[in-house]
């Protein structure tokens, strides 16, 4: 049985309530950190654990916390990114509805480490129920003295406010999130300055993902070494993989970072209906897709990077042989066209351009030159914009052509989609809202 950092007790009744959290060593880590450790010691421990951001960028968390200025007099903000908008990602929803206190405790520890007294949880607007659950959990924590002034009899004060987004995927980008928090358009900011220098309301801020915070209590309780040992050499711990698509048992699975694509699919019951695997998108829609031939790659940050993809948000989308890759890429690119904030010339125009181009190929109007145009436009976009959204667009666009070029050529040659009917719909029985481990 694998070690579980976050989802160990989520199958218990009312796992989200504080009584249950306290039953399982809840809020022991925050008490320990605030009373027996210095902020620098906390940061060191998190550094040693090799915890990397679970939102998608995979930046080492301890390092991020160490960038915050040490000046105690400066107002600093801690922000939790609960915007979960990356298609194929649904793990943060699980944490919020089944184990919100792990996240809250992680935030308390982080706030102590960086010297912040106010924390915001930026939660996507569609999560009405989840936002209310968070308010509920925060009220519970406050009532039991884990939020407020003089925590654990010491000097540290910390409180958390929930802030609801309003339907913009780009607000998952940390600087766009900060702008949205300030009541502005969710447009990413130029970096530098980084949030650690100029963040929310002009003050130094640290933004971390829900899952990242939720892993922190374990690190303090069990030790950095233990956490690190669960993963690879460069990335410690487990990861919540959200598996969806054409999979027998979709859901959120907490597994060590050493797992491979094949192992994960097997763990989830294999491709649905025993069909043949065609492709997987290993890290949410922005991750370049991999073909069935690549299935043995390990799903950690570095291995996936080497394989030409990325670990991203851990949203693994499984695609079977019935799917037209061109059509699927159209679906993905339509999403990016819709969600581009529109600041940067190449992203604003390029996301639209690619979306229309792929649609034209799917509808039978493609030419051979189009495949070159795709590469050209992606070349305009990658690495030359304010944020990584433009790079994310090139993820599916380039990888689809690279891995499934013959399908594109077929569309062009046949002047139409050889699949015509792209997918089958699902009649399986699944109880909504339950994850499987």
């Amino acid at each position: 049985m694998n070690d579980l950092v976050i989802t160990k007790h989520i199958h218990e009744k009312d796992s989200f309530k504080i009584e249950n959290y306290l039953k399982h060593d809840g809020y022991k880590a925050s008490a320990r950190a605030c009373t027996t450790m210095t902020p620098d010691q906390v940061i060191d421990e998190v550094k040693k654990s090799n915890l990397r951001g679970r939102g998608g960028a995979g930046f080492p968390t301890g390092m991020k916390w160490s960038f915050m200025p040490k000046d105690a007099k400066k107002t600093k903000y801690l922000v939790c990114n609960a915007d979960e908008g990356e298609p194929g990602t649904f793990k943060d929803r699980l944490i919020i509805t089944k184990n919100p206190h792990a996240m809250i405790e992680g935030m308390i520890i982080a706030s102590y480490a960086i010297g912040a007294h106010v924390g915001y949880i930026y939660i996507r607007g569609e999560f009405f129920r989840e936002a209310r659950m968070l308010e509920f959990a925060i009220a519970e924590a406050r009532a039991k003295g884990h939020l407020g002034n003089n925590l654990y009899g010491g000097q540290h004060a910390f409180d958390i406010y929930v802030y609801r987004g309003a339907g913009a995927y780009i607000c998952g980008e940390e600087t766009a999130l900060l702008n949205s928090l300030e009541g502005k358009r969710g447009e990413p900011r130029l970096k530098p300055p980084f949030p650690a220098q100029v963040g929310a309301f002009g003050m130094p801020s640290c933004v971390n993902n829900v899952e990242t915070f939720a892993a922190v209590p374990y690190i303090i309780n069990e030790g950095a070494a233990k956490f690190a040992s669960l993963g690879t050499e460069k990335s410690g711990g487990t990861r919540l993989y959200g598996v969806s698509g054409h999979i027998e048992r979709p859901g959120v699975y907490e597994l060590p970072l050493t797992i491979s694509g094949r192992e994960l699919i097997d763990h989830c019951g294999g491709v649905r209906g025993g069909k043949k695997l065609k492709a997987i998108i290993p890290g949410g829609a922005s991750a370049p897709m991999l073909s069935a031939a690549d299935i043995d790659v390990k799903l950690d940050f570095d291995s996936l990077m080497k394989a030409g993809s990325m670990a991203g948000s851990g949203g693994v989308i499984v695609i079977d042989e019935s799917v037209c890759i061109v059509e699927m890429t159209c679906i993905l690119l339509k999403f990016y066209e819709h969600e581009s904030c529109g600041q940067c010339s190449q992203c604003r125009e390029g996301s639209h351009w690619l979306s229309r181009l792929f649609q034209r190929i799917e509808n039978g109007g493609g030419t051979a030159a189009d495949l070159d145009t795709i590469a050209t436009v992606c070349g305009h976009m990658a690495g030359q914009t304010i944020c990584a959204f433009a790079d994310a667009v090139t993820g599916p666009a380039l990888s689809a052509v690279r891995k499934f070029r013959s399908e594109f050529e077929q569309h062009i040659h046949n002047k139409g989609c050889p699949f015509k009917k792209g997918h089958e719909h699902r009649h399986g029985e699944k109880v909504p809202g339950v994850a499987h481990v």
């Binding site: 979960e84 908008g85 509920f136 987004g165 009541g183 699927m328 997918h423 909504p432």
Partner: protein, 175 residues
């Protein structure tokens, strides 16, 4: 008067949470939409005055975010996710089922003002795809049969004049 006393009270309660007044803008828009179902031009003007913001700054925010309805919506807003995981699991069938059943195209409202049908992006319910959002509530693991049953139930609720359709969590987590 577009800004009700309730909305103002909620905003005042939130005010100490932020160092700026502008941060109250998105919550204000949410509160108004919660009451009225959409954000009308009048509401936008009043919010701008209330928060001492130029009208332009409120308008640019309202139109940036997808969730703010700039036109009235039906009593039941059916939001179907058509992103990749739901698409792989049959969302197009759900969408066309609804279009046929309601007699509207995606993006439109039924003539009786009961239903608005929209396409939305990933709702983060991919493990239980396909999913739709009905006002505030999520309905997951759907197929055409279940969807029709859901619509039957909604028709019943609408017929009975039920208040707060699709807002189950308001009661579930009353603070």
């Amino acid at each position: 008067m577009a800004l009700s006393e309730t909305v103002k009270a909620r905003l005042e309660k939130m005010r100490p949470q932020f160092p700026t007044e502008q941060a109250l803008l998105i919550p204000a828009l949410h509160f108004v939409q919660e009451e009225k179902g959409w954000v009308a031009g009048e509401s936008i003007k009043e919010i701008a005055e209330y928060l001492h913001l130029p009208l332009a700054k409120v308008r640019e925010v309202v139109t940036f975010y997808t969730m703010f309805n700039q036109k009235p919506v039906g009593k039941v807003h059916l939001q179907v996710c058509t992103n990749v995981s739901c698409w792989l699991n049959g969302s197009p069938e759900l969408l066309s089922c609804l279009e046929k059943r309601l007699g509207v195209d995606c993006g439109e409202t039924t003539k009786d003002g009961r239903y608005t049908l929209s396409e939305v992006e990933c709702l983060a319910a991919c493990g239980t795809a396909p999913a739709i959002q009905v006002n505030e509530d999520y309905y997951e693991g759907l197929n055409v049969e279940r969807l029709n049953k859901l619509l039957d139930e909604l028709d019943k609720q609408l017929g009975a004049g039920k208040k707060d359709i699709g807002c189950a969590s308001r009661e579930e987590f009353k603070l």
